[in-house]
C-alpha cells in the first residue's frame, strides 16, 4: 500500500490549494441590491434594455420559481443556500460606451491575459499547421465571447463570422437585434418550468452567448465562450443558445474559472442547443471553477442544465466535457433525439479531489426512429471526494431501432473517496438495443511501481495512467482544448506537474 499511500498523501497536500486561477481583479462594478424579487428581475431586464416580451418571460419564470423546491435527489451535500443573500447582477462599471476592444477596462483585459484567453483577434497557431494544399490564410482561429461576472465584455472575430452569415454575439444583444430567432428558440429545449435551477436562471439570467448558423454553413472557426466570476457573493447565471440550421455545422468551446474565496458562489447556467435537419453541433466544456480549499471551504456550486434537441432528421449533437473544478457539480448534458436517424453523444471526464462532490451524467431520450447514442464517461475520484455518474437512456414507444452504447469507468485514487454509478435504462419498444458497460478500478500499486521502475517519477506515473484512462474522451476534444485539458488533469491530480 505504500506507493498508493504516498500518492494519496501527495494528492491530499497539493490538490485544491494549487488552484491557479484564484486571483481577483480589482475593478469597480455595478451591482443590483442583494436578494431576489420581482423588482430585481425588472431591474435586470431594464439594465439590458429588453423588450417587454422578455420581461414578461422572466417574470413568469420568477413566479414559477417561487412555487418550486430545490431538488434533493442528487448525491451531494451542501448547506442550504440562502437565495436572498446573493447578488443577482454585477457588471464591470463601464467608463464610457465601448466601441472597440481597446476601450475595455485594461484590468479586465489583463485578467483574460492571465487566464490565457486571447481577446485580441490573434489567430491561434500553436501547433496547428495549415492543411496540406490549403492556403496559409486558412489558419485555425477561435472566436471568443468573454463573460465577466454577468456581462459579456468582448466578442472577437465578429466581422469574419458575419461574412459567413454566422451570428455570434452576447445573448443580451441578440434579444434586441434578432428577437425573431430568440423568441422562437429560447426556452424551447429547456422550458422555463424545467427545474428549480433552470427556472431561476430563466428569471435572472444576465448574459451568455447566442449562436445562429444559417442553413448549409460550416462555421469557419471554433466558437468559444469564457466565463469568469469575479465579484463576491454573486451568482452567475448565464444563458447560452445555439441554433444550427439545416445542414450546418458548428463547434463550440466553453471554459470557466473563478477567484479563490471562502464563501461558496452559485453558478446556475442553462445551455440550449437546437440542431435542425442534417445539422451538427459539437459542444465542448472545460470546467475549472474554483473547487474550494483543502478543508472543503469555499468553491463554486455548479448547478447547470444543458440540453440539446436533435430536432431535425439526421442531426447530431455531441457533448464533451472535462470537469475538474467546482465544490459541487450537478450537471447532466442531455440529448433529445427527436429527428429520425439523429445521433447524440456524450463524452465526459469528471475529476474530483479534496472535498469536491460531482453528480454528473447525461440523458439520451430516443423519440425518433433509428436514433443512436453513445455515452463514454470517465470518473476519477481522489482525496475525500465523491464522484457519481447518473444517466438515463430511454426509448419511447415509437422510437423503433433505437441504439445506445454506454461505458462508465471509474478510477479511484486512495481509500477515502467514492465512485458511484446510477444508470437508468428504459426501453418502451422491443426493437431497441441498449448496451451498458461499467467498471470501477483503483490505480494499482503494481502499475505505479512498474512505471517508476522504468524511470518515471511517482507523479508522472499517476499522470500517465490517468491520461491513458481518459484517452477515449480526450480524443473527442478539439486539439487546442485537448492539450489544455491534459494539463488540467495533471494539475488537478498532482500539482507538482506544471
Amino acid at each position: 500500500m505504500v506507493a498508493v499511500q504516498e500518492t494519496v498523501e501527495r494528492v491530499r497536500r497539493i490538490d485544491v490549494d494549487q488552484y491557479r486561477y484564484g486571483f481577483e481583479t480589482l475593478i469597480e462594478s455595478e451591482k443590483a441590491p442583494k436578494g431576489l424579487s420581482e423588482d430585481i428581475v425588472r431591474f435586470i431586464s431594464e439594465k439590458k434594455n429588453e423588450p417587454a416580451w422578455m420581461l414578461e418571460w422572466r417574470l413568469e419564470a420568477y413566479r414559477r420559481w417561487l412555487t418550486m423546491t430545490e431538488p434533493t435527489w442528487a448525491r451531494v451535500n451542501y448547506p442550504k443556500i440562502d437565495y436572498q443573500d446573493l447578488y443577482y447582477y454585477a457588471a464591470p462599471k463601464p467608463k464610457k460606451t465601448l466601441s472597440s476592444i481597446d476601450e475595455i477596462d485594461p484590468e479586465i483585459l489583463k485578467t483574460y491575459e492571465k487566464l490565457g484567453i486571447p481577446l485580441r483577434e490573434v489567430a491561434i497557431l500553436e501547433g496547428v499547421e495549415p492543411p496540406p494544399g490549403g492556403e496559409p490564410s486558412e489558419q485555425r482561429k477561435i472566436a471568443v465571447d468573454a463573460i465577466f461576472d454577468s456581462v459579456s465584455v468582448a466578442t472577437t472575430f465578429q466581422k469574419e463570422l458575419k461574412k459567413a452569415g454566422v451570428i455570434f454575439m452576447p445573448i443580451s444583444e441578440a434579444i434586441r437585434e434578432h428577437p425573431e430567432l430568440v423568441r422562437k428558440y429560447l426556452g424551447s429545449v429547456v422550458p422555463t418550468s424545467d427545474n428549480f435551477f433552470a427556472t431561476l436562471n430563466s428569471a435572472v439570467f444576465s448574459d451568455g452567448s447566442f449562436v445562429y448558423v444559417p442553413p448549409g454553413v460550416r462555421c469557419p472557426m471554433e466558437l468559444s465562450t469564457y466565463f469568469r466570476i469575479n465579484e463576491r457573493n454573486t451568482g452567475q447565471f448565464e444563458r447560452t443558445l445555439i441554433i444550427a440550421d439545416k445542414g450546418s455545422y458548428v463547434s463550440y468551446l466553453e471554459g470557466c474559472t473563478a477567484p479563490q474565496r471562502d464563501e461558496n458562489q452559485l453558478h446556475a447556467a442553462v445551455v440550449e442547443l437546437v440542431a435542425l435537419d442534417d445539422a451538427e453541433i459539437k459542444y465542448s466544456t472545460v470546467q475549472n471553477w474554483y473547487p474550494g480549499n483543502s478543508e472543503g471551504k469555499g468553491g463554486i456550486y455548479n448547478f447547470v442544465t444543458k440540453r440539446g434537441d436533435c430536432r431535425g432528421d439526421h442531426s447530431k449533437i455531441s457533448w464533451t466535457q472535462v470537469e475538474t473544478g467546482s465544490a459541487i457539480t450537478w450537471k447532466y448534458p442531455s440529448c433529445i433525439l427527436r429527428g429520425d436517424n439523429s445521433r447524440g453523444e456524450f463524452y465526459s471526464i469528471a475529476i474530483s479531489n479534496g472535498y469536491q462532490q460531482v453528480d454528473s451524467g447525461t440523458k439520451m431520450i430516443h423519440l425518433g426512429k433509428n436514433t443512436s447514442s453513445r455515452i463514454i464517461s470517465k470518473g476519477i475520484a481522489a482525496g475525500k471526494s465523491q464522484n457519481t455518474y447518473r444517466g438515463l437512456v430511454t426509448a419511447h414507444r415509437k422510437a423503433t431501432g433505437a441504439r445506445n452504447y454506454t461505458a462508465c469507468d471509474s478510477l479511484l485514487i486512495g481509500d477515502k473517496c467514492g465512485a458511484h454509478t446510477v444508470p437508468y435504462v428504459e426501453a418502451k419498444n422491443s426493437s431497441a438495443t441498449f448496451e451498458h458497460e461499467a467498471t470501477t478500478s483503483k490505480i494499482s500499486e503494481d502499475v505505479l511501481f512498474y512505471c517508476v521502475q522504468r524511470g518515471l517519477s511517482q507523479e508522472e506515473a499517476v499522470g500517465l495512467v490517468v491520461n491513458g484512462f481518459v484517452k477515449d474522451v480526450l480524443q473527442q476534444l478539439p486539439m487546442e482544448f485537448a492539450v489544455e485539458a491534459q494539463k488540467l488533469i495533471s494539475i488537478s491530480l498532482e500539482g507538482s506537474v506544471g
Partner: protein, 327 residues
C-alpha cells in the same frame, strides 16, 4: 580517479609534497637571486636546492602512485552490485535473513531456489518496490547506497528489473510509454532527450531484432499481449534503456520453448563486459539458453551454496531438498 587524487592530497601524505615543493621553489628563487646578483655560489646553491626539492617531490609522487596502483584483488572495490548481510521484512515476517551477493560488471549470476526462498523479494528490494522493510544490511550499487534512492533514481542509475508479470496500462501506447520512460531516465542523468526521429529509429531497430511487430508498439502497454509478447516487451525496454544491471525475474514463466528461445536470444545479445545480469529462475532449463558465470542456490532467505554453471545441473538432478535442510 578523483577519489585517488583526493586520497593522495588528504592526510599526512600531503606534507612531503608541501616540504619538497617548498624546497624546490625556494631553491629556484635563490638560484634566480644568485643569477641577478652574479653570485655563482648562491646560484649553484639555489640550483642544487631546487633540484633536490623537485626530485623529492616527484619521487614521493611516484611512490604514492606505485602504492595505490590497482592490484588484482582491487577489482572487488568497484563491484557493480554488493548486497551485504541483507535482512528484509514484509509486515511481521522476515523473508531475507542475512543475504550477501557480489556482482561485477560483465558477470551473469543465476539465482535458483524453491518457492518462498526469497528470490523475488531480493529482486523487488533491489529495484525499490514499496512494502518491504529493510531491517539490516546494505545494498551498494557502484559503491553508492542503493537503499537511499527512490525507485526511479535507481532506474536512471542503470538498475532494470524485468518483471515476472508485466502490468497492463490501458490507453497508453507502448511507443509513448517507451519514449516517456527513456526521456525521464535521460533527463535524470542530465542527458538531452531523444528527438522523435532518432527515437523511432532506435526503437524500430531493437524491435526488429526481437521480432516485435510495429503494430504491437501502437497498442496499449501490454494490453492484450500474449505471455511471450509481454516478456519480449520487457527485453525491448532493457535493450532501449541500456541498463548496467539487469535483473530478470522468472523470465521463463509462462513461455513455451520457442518464445523462451527468442527471449533468451534477446538477453544474450545484451551481454557485454560492462553489463551484469542476475537471472532468477526455478528451473535449470532457462540456463541452457542463458549460460551463467555463477549459480547461487537460495533457501529460506539465504544463499546456501554458490558455484559455477555445473551447480545448476546438480540441482536439476537432486532437487532443492538437500539445500533446504542445509538452511
Amino acid at each position: 580517479m578523483v577519489q585517488t587524487i583526493r586520497n593522495i592530497l588528504v592526510g599526512v601524505q600531503v606534507w612531503p609534497f608541501a616540504i619538497t615543493g617548498f624546497v624546490a621553489i625556494a631553491g629556484a628563487f635563490i638560484a634566480l637571486i644568485g643569477a641577478f646578483a652574479s653570485s655563482l655560489d648562491v646560484m649553484e646553491f639555489g640550483k642544487a636546492a631546487a633540484g633536490f626539492g623537485a626530485m623529492g617531490f616527484f619521487g614521493w609522487l611516484l611512490f604514492l602512485i606505485a602504492l595505490r596502483s590497482p592490484r588484482p584483488e582491487g577489482k572487488k572495490m568497484t563491484a557493480l552490485l554488493e548486497v551485504k548481510d541483507l535482512q528484509v521484512r514484509v509486515e511481521d515476517r522476515e523473508i531475507l535473513h542475512g543475504l550477501s551477493l557480489t556482482v561485477n560488471p560483465g558477470e551473469v549470476h543465476a539465482i535458483m531456489g524453491p518457492n518462498g526462498s526469497g528470490k523475488s523479494t531480493l529482486s523487488h528490494v533491489i529495484a525499490g518496490k514499496p512494502g518491504y522493510e529493510v531491517t539490516g544490511g546494505q545494498i551498494l550499487f557502484r559503491g553508492e547506497d542503493l537503499l537511499e534512492m527512490a525507485p526511479d533514481e535507481r532506474a536512471a542509475k542503470g538498475v532494470f528489473l524485468a518483471f515476472q508479470y508485466p502490468v497492463e496500462i490501458p490507453g497508453v501506447a507502448t511507443m509513448n510509454f517507451l519514449r516517456t520512460a527513456l526521456n525521464a531516465q535521460r533527463k535524470a542523468r542530465g542527458e538531452s532527450e531523444y528527438s522523435t526521429p532518432d527515437f523511432l529509429k532506435k526503437v524500430r531497430e531493437v524491435a526488429k531484432s526481437l521480432n516485435i511487430p510495429q503494430d504491437m508498439l501502437k497498442r496499449g502497454v501490454n494490453v492484450g499481449f500474449s505471455g511471450g509478447e509481454k516478456k519480449r516487451n520487457e527485453i525491448l525496454q532493457m535493450a532501449l534503456f541500456e541498463p548496467s544491471l539487469c535483473i530478470l525475474d522468472e523470465m521463463d514463466s509462462g513461455l513455451d520453448i520457442d518464445a523462451l528461445r527468442i527471449a533468451a536470444d534477446g538477453v544474450n545479445a545484451l551481454r557485454s563486459p560492462e553489463r551484469a545480469m542476475v537471472v532468477i529462475t526455478h528451473y535449470q532449463r532457462l540456463l541452457n539458453y542463458i549460460v551463467p558465470d555463477y549459480v547461487h542456490v537460495m533457501a529460506k532467505g539465504r544463499v546456501v551454496k554458490s558455484g559455477d554453471k555445473h551447480l545448476a545441473l546438480e540441482l536439476e538432478a537432486a532437487g532443492y531438498a538437500p539445500f533446504e535442510h542445509a538452511a
